[in-house]
Amino acid sequence: MLSFLYARQSGLDDPVRLRRAESTRRVLSLELNHNRDVDRIHGNGINTLDTEVIDGRYMLSGGSDGVIVIYDLENNSKKPQYTCKAICTVGRSSRHVHKFSVETVQWYPHDTGMFVSSSFDKTMKVWDTETLKVVSELLCYSSHSALLCSVLAVGTKDPKVQLCDLKSGSRIHILQGHRGEILSVRWSPRYDHILATASTDSRVRIWDVRRASGSLFTLDQHNGDKSKASSEAVNTAHNGRVNGLCFTADGLHLLSTGTDDRMRLWNSGTGENTLVNYGKVVNESRKGLKFTVSRGCSPEFVFVPCGSSVAVYGLHSGELITMLRGHYNNVDCCEFHPDYQELYSGGKDCNILAWVPVLRQPGIEDDETNSKRGGTQAAINPAFEDAWSSDED
């Protein structure tokens, strides 16, 4: 670590390198933190989490009981023991609450004044954060959606993707091509017009929404080598339902998980399967699985909910780094906070757990000895302490 600091100081290294190295070290030491808690409001499982992009301070969560809660993640008290308080809740008593389970919540990408929620009660609601009232409601038989600027892409049960414009509240157009229910929809972070959708017909399609014709391409797990698959499985992304999609932060790669217990990494420009082998990624989920990729680390990490724990894989190497155990029941969603390298995961046990990096904690013995010496030494930064010099000289 000191060598990185020195290299940055003397200009040998790019400043980004130190940041990446430290982020990676922090992600590798993620642990369930005793000090950090999130208020427990949900009475039923938590299906989705979303952190806003601007500050990374407010987090939305949507639950199976239709309740939506907003939490403040920032620690303003000076104590390490901190509970992330729920600022406001759209509870069962609210007039506008969803009737059934909320599947996706998403903040408006440019500010926190508005958010969107979609649920199994066949509606998609746009909420005003100040008043917690529904500004507009769209009826569509959907359960998964993704928001980009003012265009909302909704994946519906009859296999089409509906694009809606939030400014006017109307539907723009429909993307046809899938043959099964759409389980996941994602916009590319790199290009505004690229959309990826995953469905129960084992296919993942990439669309350019500016074009009137069908999808750009379908992702093929055998990369066009038709001889490898059985004839029904030709041109499919997985050998089962595809229920999770995630773009990497730079938008160059796309990850997909399927019920064939496999996770695949695709090149999002060409649609080629990079053939990184993650092994068996247990996936029994019937609905969409929300997983996430780290941002700003040197080998990127994928955090996938696997049963009742979260598995951390190296993105390009495919090796299982560690399993984060702590939930009592199935984990449904996880969200990575890029500024603090923290992971929040929510599951059926109605808990949101915060996984915080644990590094270089000051030992309790050091504090005691310091106070014994009568405070003659100012607290020394542990980075400058060494193990060989004696204090007696």
Partner: protein, 253 residues
Amino acid sequence: MSRKRALIADTFCLTKRRRCAADSVTDGAADIRSSLQYLMTLFSRKLFNDSLPPVVLKHQLYSLHNDKTSVDKQVNELRENGDLLMFQLGFDSEAFALVFAEDYRTKVLQGEAGRETLGTVEKFLAKLIPGCSDLSFNKEKMLKEFLFTDPAITQLVKSGVLTVRDAGSWWLSIPNSGKFIKYFIKGRKAVLGMVKKSKYGEILKTELEGHHTTSQVKFQMKYHIHEIMGAELVESIQTTSGTLLRYVDGNVN
């Protein structure tokens, strides 16, 4: 004090990496070949009266090497070179069988000796082994690229080198492999049952190897153990007394 050993990224282990870098790169492909040869020795030839070449499953390699992606890459390299042949076994879309090309050729020709299909099979093998690394063939390919006629294709299916995939396409297969697949599936089920029935559903790998084999298990225990470890049908945990195999719930088998 935290007992857990912290995970350290590669970037912080600079000195270690410099020292190991030299020997790890060259050993890559050689490693896989030697692992394959080791696994081939575990295959029981006598069981099939020497009519089958030694068959290894691709995921058995995963139990010997950590990095699955590099194992896949090296297997593909060996296939491109024409040293190794890969077959789709049919009972699992992800289970692939690997056979050394020379072994395959000798066994097939040995099995065909004296039959009238010998000539066609020889022609097919000549086309297959150096160049082609496909797992299945469809009709146009057989007719146009390989210049086989319909009766020739029927002869190939009869001899067992091709099996039907669907109308107009065929999988590449190992002749007389039906018995192998039958014993394999039975043996796998029996070994998994042994792990499941043991106390707490877990057993040390060395103990399982020493277990007496029931009549269901025709192959060597080590062969089956590598297979279930590589296919992740059991969870392998490193303990101070060796590797522990724990049964994973939710297995179809």
